[in-house]
Symmetry: C2
Subunit: 224 residues, 2 copies
């Protein structure tokens, strides 16, 4: 992908990754993007909120209620920023100064388009399959009223940057090697499903939850 003034790193250029596969990997590894719009009053500042997101080919889908202020603002033609971060580990160097984190981070800039009515159900299916794989086929399809109450935005993956740190500890200078150094890996894990109080006895936890659980637990990254 293209590196622009906005996406070019001012430092740690070696951590800039420019292949699309890396961008896809980050976006596919998280459930939410931190989405920002600029609000001018009372002082110019960004509004930044987590929004459930899913990649659809070369765009990122963002969805929420038609009543949501952030998404409405994001649909109004301004440049939107969507940052997706996956923390992969805490890096314990032999000094606090050299300590760090392993992570993958993608930043996407763009002017989103509103997914038109006739494409909305398919976009919601893509979101649902990312957030709750397999669930779509276990429940009834959305109604027209539900579709009308949902806003889906499509942010093109045209201007984006990806930064990755995936390495062990290292120090700028020689340090006391009696001090341990290494990485404490982090990942997102799932607990046991909690069945709702109003679910009748005999209704089993469905495959979307049990297999979805496995998929989420499978997020454990390789060594980073």
């Amino acid at each position: 992908m293209q590196v622009t003034d906005r996406t070019r790193f001012t430092r740690y250029g070696h951590r800039q990754v420019t292949d699309r596969a890396a961008l896809h990997d980050v976006l596919d590894s998280a459930l939410v993007a931190h989405v920002a719009v600029v609000r001018e009053a009372p002082t110019p500042a960004a509004v930044v909120l987590p929004i459930a997101s899913a990649r659809d080919g070369e765009s990122l889908l963002l969805h929420g209620s038609t009543g949501g202020g952030l998404l409405r603002a994001a649909a109004a033609g301004q440049t939107v920023t969507a940052t997706v971060t996956v923390l992969d580990g805490v890096v314990y160097a032999r000094t606090v100064f050299d300590s760090s984190m392993n992570y993958r981070c993608a930043v996407v800039y763009g002017v989103p388009t509103v997914v038109p009515d006739e494409e909305k159900e398919e976009a919601l299916r893509v979101l649902s399959e990312h957030l709750m794989p397999g669930r779509w086929d276990e429940v009834r399809p959305p109604t027209r009223r539900e579709l009308a109450a949902t806003l889906v935005l499509r942010l093109p993956l045209e201007e984006a940057s990806v930064k990755v740190r995936a390495a062990g500890a290292s120090e700028d200078e020689a340090e006391d090697d009696a001090v341990w150094a290494g990485v404490l890996p982090l990942h997102t894990a799932v607990g046991a499903p909690r069945t709702g109080d109003d679910v009748p006895a005999g209704v089993e936890v469905p495959p979307s939850v049990t297999s979805g659980a496995h998929r989420l637990a499978g997020w454990v990254p390789p060594y980073r």
Copy 2:
């Protein structure tokens, strides 16, 4: 805390939490904040990046290299936004439309101050104790050169909002109760520590990593 035009929710007002304990809980439950500044060119847009953060009383400390573009911009007097999100679960309702996520999210607006030289080591200790509890006392203190190369910002917790969803599934209307509904809890978990290749045989994994690991694993929230 005070609710301003910027922090008042336009919808789901019942999820707005205004006590400081809830704000502290969110900030204490994550390793990074998504920090945003406004960049005017080529089009007004937010720059949003993850920054390692830690709460220090009634402020949020953010730190990085003095060479980092985002922190430098954040130190220049503009209003900065710091959003901290903890995902606690995927909520499987009986419809896709009613499905949701359990989460805790804090948004802080403010103009950060640069932590002065004489307070920087203590601020870094607070950050270190949050990010790698116990590590500070296992390694040598930072040098003057290291302190000089580190920028620490202090963002006051004066204008902030907290939003929490911590509940089971529910639907707007009666749905087929043969469909399972419930919550798949999510939490951050740690893997086995990975010792660096250059660590001599016999250097054991220190308490900061083993006990820190337990603390991170202890993030599993109560039912949400």
